[in-house]
């Protein structure tokens, strides 16, 4: 075994870390995350220049990475700066375009000249692709997609919809749909996509497996993002406890607080390990199970770290002004994306089914 990242990945991590540090100081991050297009178009261009979108697809499909560890490398850095760019949306779109050989779109996204988003959830379909009710008929889509990440900043919307009882994938030009954009509570944007006989192109009549795989890529990305955010929030909390004086001493000297910081540090190491596990299994048949395990643990660890960090900061941790509060929000809200702790638990239970073991 060897747990050291390859030189290529280390280089990506280093250059991305430098770029994000320069481009997204927390004041700027908070401004673009809640204003205008809910991201920074210049920042997006910078990511493209660094080749970040290219790192998310394989060489065969028009990129230069695309493995589980490429995804975790990129997103861990995004998490360290709680970067509000719609990279999750474009990761999922890239994987879907790649699954169906749409090299033209991939090229444009990798170059940074176009953006896409993947619309799958509906208000009554959370957690279950089988409940999707948006339909494709005669070249047109009808239905309503909810909380489409990056939908506010996309040129193309990939839509999961039903036609003739099959779950397929369809592409809509964003300007042809009604797009209701808004910021999310933890920053970054999303949109409601209202389709009412909207012209669309069929990418695949049957796309269930590709959709599951794209969602798993998204989940893996979110897990790695959480690890990056947790690492930073832990550093902030430790620094604050050492600096904050009450009762004539740094509050870091109170053992009640020391133990809690230690407890959540243990969970962060657990989180890091389960994400490495999922990254390593990503190209195998165990992908779905490994990703579900990771996202379940990440959900639990993220909540613990977020809540404890805010609590141990006292009032300061409750303020918008303090960067740590935004990390806490992001960690909590990651659990709401692409299936939460309980959803992952259900999946792990179903895939391992202990009642039927020999």
């Amino acid at each position: 075994m060897d747990f050291t990242p390859t030189d290529d990945r280390r280089m990506i991590a280093d250059s991305l870390r430098r770029f994000l540090s320069d481009t997204y100081p927390i004041e700027h991050r908070n401004k673009v995350a809640y204003d205008g297009a809910f991201h920074d178009p210049d920042g997006w261009a910078g990511l493209a220049e660094l080749g970040i979108m290219g790192a998310l697809v394989s060489e065969d499909d028009g990129g230069f990475g695309g493995a589980g560890f490429d995804i975790t490398t990129v997103f861990e850095e995004m998490g360290r700066k709680i970067c509000p760019e719609p990279l999750l949306a474009n990761l999922m779109a890239l994987r879907l375009y790649a699954a169906f050989g749409k090299s033209e779109r991939i090229e444009a996204i990798v170059a940074g000249s176009e953006r896409a988003a993947f619309a799958f959830d509906e208000s009554d379909s959370f957690g279950d692709l089988g409940e999707i009710s948006t339909t494709f008929e005669g070249g047109k889509l009808t239905g309503r997609k909810t909380v489409v990440y990056g939908g506010q900043a996309a040129d193309w919307i990939l839509v999961a919809a039903k036609s003739g009882g099959k779950l397929g994938l369809y592409e809509v030009k964003a300007s042809d749909a009604e797009v209701l954009a808004y910021p999310m509570i933890d920053g970054g944007g999303a949109a409601e996509i209202v389709l009412d006989g909207t012209p669309s192109e069929c990418i695949a009549e049957e796309a269930t497996d590709a959709i599951e795989a794209a969602l798993d890529a998204g989940r893996l990305a979110l897990c790695a993002e959480a690890v990056g955010a947790m690492d930073v929030l832990k550093e902030m909390t430790r620094d604050y406890l050492m600096q904050r004086q009450q009762f004539g001493r740094p509050i870091a000297l109170f053992q009640a607080l020391q133990h809690r910081l230690v407890d959540f540090s243990i969970e962060i190491e657990q989180a890091r390990s389960i994400v490495i596990h999922a990254g390593g299994k990503f190209e195998t048949e165990e992908r779905a199970l490994a990703v579900a395990k990771a996202k379940n643990l990440i959900g639990r660890a993220g909540k613990l770290v977020a809540e404890e960090a805010v609590q141990m900061h006292g009032g300061i941790g409750m303020t918008w002004e303090y960067a740590g509060s935004h990390y806490a929000k992001r960690l909590i809200m990651i659990d709401h994306q692409l299936g939460d702790t309980e959803d992952q638990l259900r999946k792990v239970m179903a895939l391992t089914d202990i009642s039927s073991a020999a």
């Binding site: 009554d124 089988g130 999303a190 009032g315 709401h336």
Partner: protein
């Protein structure tokens, strides 16, 4: 043992319930139920309505314009108000300064200040915490220096809740640096219109505005605005902390929040079925319901004065009460799944129909209510209090 309320208590509950039904407007109740920020007008009109029955200052004796209720009546009143989604009574004048003046104030202070609290002419806020003095409140540094018949105040208060609506602030200030820090603190009343005071907003984690920083530069306040003796401020502050707080556990509010959570679980769908039918969700709701039931009993044991752990029981209720409330808030945001993410603007709540309107601010409320375990003596400080009592050191 008899776990029933008396017929008189039940009749009182009915009276409160009827009043709320007849007087609390649907608009206001909806705003409270939906977890929206209330404006000054919302709160003032509700206070005024309650005072038409002399129900506003629940802890005050009748001679000062209160209802003269006992602890059980107060409990019933608070519970019914929570069930009806009435606005929370802003406590600073009514629940804090009022009782302090009644116990420590001069006749003149009682005569001039108490009626103005009841009428709503004066909105008070609480100036205890400072940037350097939170859990260790006694280390506060804001100075009040005697100059003839005045104090001159310099320093900074922070976390001042609803200071933006307030006319006046009651402060703990340092009047002596001799002896133990607790011994050099005085309790002083300050008009916020006095020259030299500046208030700045603090934006909270979820984006709301309810707390402020208050800066004092050479602020001149008559010595007659002091409550109690000079350097007696700590005794007064401690009196307030120990002052019977029937509502510290927030049982009524948590019960209402739990009912809303269940209703939400029946409304939203997961895997094609109502979320409430999902065993993982239902199990967690049942668990918190059990905890809440037990806490309700603990609270009643305290109210009826039969708890075996009198001293630290209010610390216990503070810890358990906030943990239960935060757990309910946690479940309420999780119940929404992806629909919890949108920032709850007017469009998102009212027009886009992403989540049911009464739940659209669930994530924001979850984040905001992390404050419950931090303010009013953090849960760590409450544990220290219980530990001190347990170990005698």
């Amino acid at each position: 043992m008899d776990l029933n309320f008396t017929p008189e208590e039940e009749a009182f509950r009915e009276e409160v319930r009827t009043f709320l039904k007849d007087n609390l407007s649907e608009d206001l109740a909806t705003k409270v139920r939906n977890g929206r920020e209330l404006n000054k007008q919302d709160i003032e009109s509700w206070h005024a309505l309650l005072q038409t029955r002399s129900w506003l200052a629940a802890t005050w004796p009748e001679e000062y314009g209160g209802p003269g209720w006992n602890a059980v009546q107060r409990h019933i009143f608070e519970e019914e108000c929570a069930f009806a989604n009435a606005p929370r009574i802003v406590p600073f004048g009514l629940g804090m300064l009022g009782p302090v003046l009644i116990k420590f104030g001069t006749e003149e202070q009682k005569k001039t200040i108490l009626p103005r609290i009841l009428s709503g002419e004066d909105w008070w806020c609480q100036g205890y915490s400072e940037p350097g003095a939170g859990s260790d409140l006694a280390s506060l540094k804001t100075r009040a220096v005697r100059d003839g018949d005045d104090y001159i105040i310099n320093g900074q208060k922070t976390w001042t809740t609803l200071g933006q609506f307030a006319d006046k602030i009651f402060c703990l200030v340092r009047t002596s640096t001799e002896g133990k820090p607790q011994q050099g603190i005085s309790f002083v009343l300050v008009d916020l219109k006095t020259p030299g005071i500046e208030m700045r907003p603090i934006k909270l984690i979820e984006g709301g505005y309810e707390v402020n920083e208050v800066f004092f530069t050479d602020v001149r306040v008559p010595v007659s605005n002091r409550v109690g003796e000079e350097n007696q401020g700590w005794t007064i502050a401690k009196y307030l902390l120990g002052h019977e707080r029937t509502n510290i556990a927030g049982v009524g509010a948590s019960t209402e929040a739990l009912n809303q959570l269940k209703a939400l679980g029946r409304k939203v769908k997961r895997y094609g079925k109502p979320l409430a039918a999902d065993p993982l969700f239902a199990a967690r709701v049942a668990e918190v319901e059990i905890d809440l039931e037990a806490m309700r009993m603990t609270n009643l044991r305290m109210l009826f004065g039969t708890s075996d752990a009198q001293g630290s029981v209010s610390s216990m209720l503070k810890i358990k009460g906030t943990v239960i409330r935060q757990e309910i808030n946690d479940l309420a945001r999780r119940a929404l799944g992806p629909a919890a993410s949108p920032f709850p603007s007017e469009d998102v709540i009212g027009n886009y129909g992403i989540a049911p309107p009464e739940a659209a601010a669930n994530a924001a409320n979850y984040f905001n209510n992390r404050k419950l375990s931090i303010f009013g003596g953090s849960n760590e400080i409450q544990r220290n209090i219980i530990a001190k009592e347990t170990f005698g050191a």
